[in-house]
């Protein structure tokens, strides 16, 4: 334990005091307020008497001409927050000359990296929890429909999954901060990786799936299903896909199959889907969640080993 609590405490205070996070907080809160406002305006056109889980719709609905929903903006912001929390964790300590001074104190070396990770996680939890609370609170005032117990549970799961997703990007950024000496390099490489996955995953998955199973408007349903399965399998290379699928299952209880395409097909073919209970939704995306945990653990483990084995030089 030597030093863990002290390092955690200091890093957390530093995080909360830094301008970087003031900007992030403002940005995230503004985006949260904007989405709930748009959702509240459009929710009446979507919800009718038979709609179950009205409250959850606050988190899903986007404007008809502004495709900007809460989950979408979360899936963009969370990687940025994670990267901002981790990209300079180790290399800034080194370049500022703090690392050797820090490690000359009677603390275990791994507590430096553990403390930083925990502090980042705590900050992320506060940020995500508070923005969801703001959205839920505002939404409650705007639409006046209270959430059901199941909906609250689902929102909690949504928060947890979001923190997990943030933890992945943070541990990736920490990994880069142990690999690269310059903070600019580690920041840029984290952002570059995120951009690549964000922009190209769907493109590449579409390219491959389309080559293997060519489909058009007249394709039989089996082909569409095969294409869809293949497309999703390939896109799961990206942690973003794992996250999107997980939160869809949390926020859309109707989704029996975790693909929007298949859900639409189901609705159009006259099937009347019934909402899944929470544990079923969880079961559905269990592999995705395990995948996210594993990716986070792998990144952190490599960073940990790299940091522990490194020789501390004076310069």
């Amino acid at each position: 334990m030597a030093g863990l609590i002290e390092i955690f405490r200091k890093e957390l205070v530093d995080n909360f005091n830094s301008r970087r996070f003031l900007i992030l907080f403002v940005l995230v809160y503004l985006a949260g307020i904007a989405t709930v406002y748009i959702a509240a305006q459009n929710i009446r056109s979507i919800v009718n008497d038979t709609t179950q889980y009205v409250f959850l719709n606050l988190f899903i609905v986007s404007g008809s001409n502004i495709p900007f929903s809460f989950p979408l903006f979360m899936s963009v912001f969370i990687p940025i927050i994670g990267i901002a929390l981790g990209f300079d964790a180790i290399n800034s300590e080194r370049t500022s000359g703090n690392l050797s001074r820090l490690l000359a104190q009677p603390i275990y070396r791994d507590n430096v990296i553990n403390g930083k990770f925990c502090a980042g996680l705590a900050l992320m939890a506060v940020l995500i929890f508070s923005v969801v609370a703001i959205v839920a609170g505002l939404g409650l005032r705007l639409i006046g429909v209270p959430p059901q117990a199941e909906e609250i549970l689902r929102l909690f799961m949504f928060i947890l999954v979001s923190i997990l997703y943030g933890a992945f990007w943070m541990s990736l950024a920490i990994l880069f901060s142990t690999l690269f000496k310059k903070t600019a390099t580690s920041a840029l490489s984290s952002v570059a990786l995120w951009m690549f996955l964000f922009l190209f995953t769907a493109l590449i998955a579409n390219l491959i799936a389309g080559t293997v199973v060519p489909i058009n408007q007249n394709s039989p349903l089996e082909d569409v299903t095969r294409y869809d399965n293949l497309f999703r399998m390939i896109s799961r290379v990206s942690p973003g896909t794992l996250y999107t699928e997980s939160i869809q299952a949390m926020l859309l209880p109707l989704m029996g199959n975790s693909s929007p395409t298949m859900m639409l097909i189901g609705i159009y073919s006259g099937l009347n889907p019934t909402p899944l209970p929470l544990y079923q939704s969880l079961l559905l995306v269990w592999p995705q969640l395990v995948g996210l945990v594993a990716l986070t653990a792998i990144c952190f483990a490599i960073a940990y080993v790299k940091f522990m084995r490194e020789e501390i030089r004076a310069t």
Binding site: A2, G3, E6, I7, K10, D14, N17, S18, S96, G97, N98, S100, R101, L102, L103, A104, Q105, P106, I107, Y108, R109, E311, I312, R313, A314, T315
Partner: protein, 311 residues
Amino acid sequence: MNNHFVIETENLSKAYGKLLAVDNVSIKLAEGEVLGLLGPNGAGKTTTILMLMGFSEPTSGSVRVIGYDPAREPIKVKKVVGYMPEKIGFYEDLTAAENLTYTGRLNDLSEAKIKAKVGELLELVGLKDNGDQVVGKFSHGMKQRLGIADVMIKEPRVAIFDEPTAGIDPEGTDQVLNLIKTMARQKVTVLISSHQLHQVQKICTQVGIFSKGKMIACGPVDKLGREALRKGQFNIILPIATLADNLRKEIQKINGVIGIENVADTVVIAADRNVSQELEKAVMKFTGLKLQMKIEEFELEEIYLKYFRES
């Protein structure tokens, strides 16, 4: 295992690939001594220090600091060893007092003690009025002094300074060295590495000269001087212009005296051991005077250059 040595290394070596950064270095440092490590850049001083701190594992040989192996029991060593790295840095967004407080907390001191110590140390290092300033605004010399406070807050038994005076002005250098001297007076065992020979000579009881990974000489300055420059001879200087014949004969009879020579207004007596006591008696007997005799002192610079010309 000798417990009375605070720092003890035996045939310590460190290889980076084919390069032998530290080659068979043996240091024995007793409590309260101040050892200065001298040598050009890349001679292995810093690497030796890193091994003493347990930051770097020796390729062969052993290290003991207060009886513990720093690579195996780092926490025990770091509890009592203060270390100031060559390029010391602080959290620039925090104030001087906050930086010290953090170090105090990492050392598990009580909050009350930290508060008292921080005030006391900031005053000692002359940063009393800068305690609430962020370190980002500090000059290099101020940071070095804060570094010393940072080392002292844990009340170390051993303090290791890697180039504590590099790149600061003469006044700052003096302040830093005086602080280190203060620590030495409080029975702290000190190890400094430096290029600044003159300063090192002022505060060190022992020096170790490094060259290409080897410690080519180690000991008190006067002993090194005799060995390097006088082939081990003692030169004792009597502040008189000439010697009476009977006194000269008497002195020649003293066991160990090799030669007597007139240099300027003094008489220099060369001997292969320290004969100053016998000399004093002889002078007393023949002249009835108690002369202020002086054993020849050496400039560290001369010694240093001599060793480097040889190696």
